[in-house]
Amino acid sequence: MSDIAERLENERIEIQLLLEGLFLKYGHDFRDYAGAHLKRRMEYRKLAEGLDNYAEMLHKILYDQAFLQQLLLDLSINITEMFRDPWVYAKIRKAVVPHLKTYPFIRSWHAGCSTGQEVYSMCILFHEEEVSGKRIQIYATDFNDLVLDKARQAIFPIEVVKEYTANYQKAGGLSSFAEYYTADYESVKINPPLRDRVLFSAHNLATDGVFAEMNIIFCRNVLIYFNKELQNKVMKLFYDSLCPGGFLCLGPKESLRFTDYADKFDIVGEKERIYRKKRGLHQGLSNEQ
């Protein structure tokens, strides 16, 4: 074995031990994350801290809480914006909401909600489509508590407003985006309607289970960071959580194609990656719209 091959193999072993340690001590399970991405993020932190190797990093994780929090932030990609991929929201408005409105009560789940931008986008959209607060419960979950706190605050830097406004318009917004926030000198606080219908809570897709029957699930740009096994496990969780005919919205580069669940959903929007759980034959008559 060449020197470099041996060094890489040792590194893989150390990383595996590190992930095992992170799981044993704190219950955070990154063992089935996509390897190449995970390694990049950990390498970044290793270099930033001047650590020589991942064995040293494991020790720091076990004994240094501040470092642990930093690493958890490194390992979750929190790139998000309001009405990100506006054409997706336009499609939801047109092809999904009319179906949802036929239910007496709607349960909507944002899995991996990060700092909350997409949650608040849907609050606005539901409000504009006249879904009243009495008829909806929105769940927003993430494994990272720091990120959830930010999501609850709904405060974003003022620089992003221009982009959010443009997105809102492209997404088919029916009003003026300015109606939904209060501006300060440096920041805006989003104050969307239906905000009191959002329940933020910690939920780890890798380890936690079903908690309610959902009519629609959003999980955008999360599955790309999981390996195939974990993707399938999470797809099972979503499948089990959805009611028959329930909707699933993935990121624009995520698809069911390489999972075990490709034939268990109908495609509502190919480009938008919006899917609908097929109804079992025995359920076909009772709940048709």
């Binding site: 060449s2 996509a34 190449a36 991405h37 990049r40 790309i224």
Partner: protein, 190 residues
């Protein structure tokens, strides 16, 4: 002659024309996958893919997450996503921050491929206006892979090839008009 298992190409400004010269020279039976990062604006669509598809014998497509990398196929990183490759040869996308102001970044692809394929990798840096790719090419060399740079005087923009030559004592410097045939020959083990 070494048996190469994959090829990675990084290209930026001037890449549209340069790829249109190089990729049509690859033959249909290419025994390895080709992964390409071409810097594009985040909103650009599949125009480049369609354009190349019409001109190439090899199959050309946008890379999809979790897709297995197959021989005889050219995969382009989709706009606004990093492209990486996993140990099981499946493709992976990520929205991690820009690297060298770029997403997709050439360095990100090269570094991940370098560790997966070791001496079985061919890394190629072509025309472009920034230094993305130089560090990645160095990593490919460090891991035992073969390094190739488009001759700067044949590049529409020579900054990227020059940065790569500065960072790496490369194995081959090849002018644009011969680059496609040269890469084809390497891939075919000739």
């Amino acid at each position: 002659m070494a048996n190469y298992r994959a090829m990675v190409i990084g290209v930026s400004a001037g890449g549209f024309k340069a790829l249109s010269v190089v990729l049509p020279q690859l033959q249909r039976e290419l025994p390895l996958p080709v992964l390409i990062v071409q810097h594009l604006s985040p909103v650009s669509d599949t125009y480049l893919v369609d354009h190349l598809r019409q001109r190439c014998a090899v199959k050309v497509k946008l890379a999809e997450d979790k897709e297995p990398a197959e021989a005889g196929v050219v995969y382009l990183a989709p706009p606004d996503y990093h492209l990486l490759i996993e140990a099981d040869y499946s493709l992976a996308l990520s929205l991690e921050n820009r690297v060298n102001y770029s997403r997709p970044s050439i360095d990100v692809l090269f570094a991940s491929a370098a560790e997966v394929f070791l001496e079985g990798l061919i890394g190629v840096v072509m025309t472009g206006a920034n230094a993305d790719g130089a560090e990645g090419l160095a990593r490919i060399q460090e891991c035992g892979g073969l390094t190739v740079v488009q001759a700067p005087e044949t590049a529409e923009v020579n900054i990227m090839p020059l940065a790569a030559l500065e960072a790496v004592a490369v194995d081959h410097i090849v002018p644009l008009d011969r680059l496609g045939r040269f890469l084809n020959m390497l891939a075919m083990g000739q």
